[in-house]
Symmetry: C2
Subunit: 318 residues, 2 copies
């Protein structure tokens, strides 16, 4: 049997754990890594930020659309974005992996290669995990982070008059999904944006340091996630589409597919950009861009002062 | 439609999250609970202990053998036991839940009732989670804990001459599995032990404070898990069966099923007792009971000085 054909059943639980953890370098925050009952991670702030996400094959990713490595990158990225959205610095992740017994070990090592690639990009360690048998590939990721003395930036602190801003890509993953859905594999820029997001991890801390009053990571869609801020903060939010510059690439793809690229930017999730509100007149840090304003609660979430007439984002089970 | 027939598809993601989080009381360590991008949990030690487990329907539990509430209790218990096995105090858990769209909401609320029941028993909060769609019910749990200034008790500190001790039940879950496998539903004591373990959470801290040199939670089976300590510590371990008192109930069940109850105690997993090694002549704390001694590495793991001739425990995918 060639190594490519070795399955997780052949390798066994402990062989598999060895294959995915051996030779990995942990950052200094990992005080005790994989291999014991639990990991130990530095939490110098005295508080720990924690978030968990589950990704299911056929629902959140398709191995015929994405490589296992891309799925691994995505699984880590979506979760670290949640930590960043609190204004915290991600420190570590734990992985739960359920997969069929006949899954090639190669798929699992590529998946975990992608996980380590994204973890390294963010400077975090994969400190623990669990691998079990299931009919479909299911990945759960829990990320931990440190606030470094900052107050957590929640969804509930926006006030009327605040500036609404984003950092990161909007609409790229949705455009990529539209391309893949039509059976195309290019342009690679938007297709890869769908395969794995590149959230701006640093931007969360920057926003917190600049006094952001609320923040969220855009997973469901810009309007839907701003709706979560509006609801939690009991405010309205108005987006100014003139401030949302449609990237040339999205305009091209929209034109080719007969789709509205602005709609992708307003309603497409999965890019995991960050959206935040800031006090009026604040200097926006780094790459943060103003896209609208916080209004009175009775206004709701509007686009150029009007209610948006399309579905605003993604909800499970609907 | 009766409330019993409402499915997770009907309820929607946000309705479901509301149903399982509303009215729950968080312990003081939960600084920010569910509802934002991430939770914030107190980590006064400056380090956080973290462990993750995945439970799959049909592999780790069966909803025809256990109630959803029992499955929820088990999911939390197995993970908190890992935190206890480091000598830490569990502080919080995060839940990932994947389930079919036609799952009755009632199943999910019973499941989460069980999770809260066990969480409350351990004094921890359910601080966050994710709910997604899948073909089968898959539960991932990540537990966090605080060391309170103690050094983590790993698997690798056992030394020849140390005392081997356990705290908690041995063989009960295996006996329950044997009973259920024959189609019986009683005796309820062993059957419930299979449905949800009752790990001795406090015993982990007690052992750490008493100077335990190594510790593990017994999930695969006593001999298998002591094997992990032996391997990590590069020692041998000898169990003295005369010290393993077979409980009357296990003897009865063994007699009724024609099975050896001692074998359940030596190889049965899922009770999530704790096993630890202590320096010679230490006064064992609380309910800890001596069951053997740490020997030289070349001896391996033995029972009454001899190699054990049966399978020593459970391994996935085999």
């Amino acid at each position: 049997m060639s190594p490519q054909e070795t399955t997780v059943r052949d390798a066994g639980e402990f062989g598999l754990i060895h294959a995915v953890t051996q030779g990995r370098k942990q950052p200094p925050a990992t005080l005790l890594g994989p291999g014991d009952d639990a990991a130990v991670v530095a939490a110098p702030d005295g508080r720990v930020v924690a978030s968990t996400d589950v990704l299911v094959e056929g629902v959140h990713f398709r191995l015929d659309w994405s490589s296992a490595e891309q799925v691994g990158r995505k699984a880590i990225a979506v979760n670290l974005a949640d930590i960043a959205a609190m204004g915290a610095t991600p420190t570590s992740v734990l992985i739960g992996l359920a997969c069929p017994s006949d899954t090639p070990v190669k798929v699992i090592t590529e998946l975990t290669d992608g996980m380590w690639l994204e973890a390294d990009r963010a400077g975090v360690g994969i400190v623990g995990g669990d691998m079990v048998r299931a009919d479909k590939l299911v990945i759960s990721v829990t990320a931990l982070g440190d606030l470094g003395g900052r107050a957590p930036v929640t969804r509930s602190g926006a006030r009327p008059g605040d500036v609404v801003a984003v950092c990161g890509r909007l609409g790229w993953a949705a455009a990529g999904l539209a391309v893949l859905g039509r059976g195309f594999r290019s342009p690679v820029g938007v297709v890869n944006a769908q395969r794995h997001p590149e959230p701006p991890y640093e931007a969360g801390r920057e926003a917190a340091d600049a006094g952001a009053t609320s923040m969220i990571d855009i997973s469901d869609g810009l309007l839907a996630d701003l709706g979560h801020i509006a609801e939690a903060s009991e405010v309205g939010i108005d987006l100014e589409t003139q401030r949302l510059v449609v990237p040339t690439r999205l305009a091209e793809v929209g034109s080719a597919l007969g789709a509205d690229p602005l709609r992708w930017m307003l309603t497409g999730g999965e890019d995991h950009a960050l959206a935040a509100t800031f006090p009026p007149f604040v200097d926006l840090p780094g790459e943060w861009t103003r896209i609208g304003a916080v209004t009175m609660p009775e206004s709701g979430v509007t686009v150029d002062g009007k209610t948006y007439e399309h579905e605003t984002g993604w909800e499970h089970w609907r």
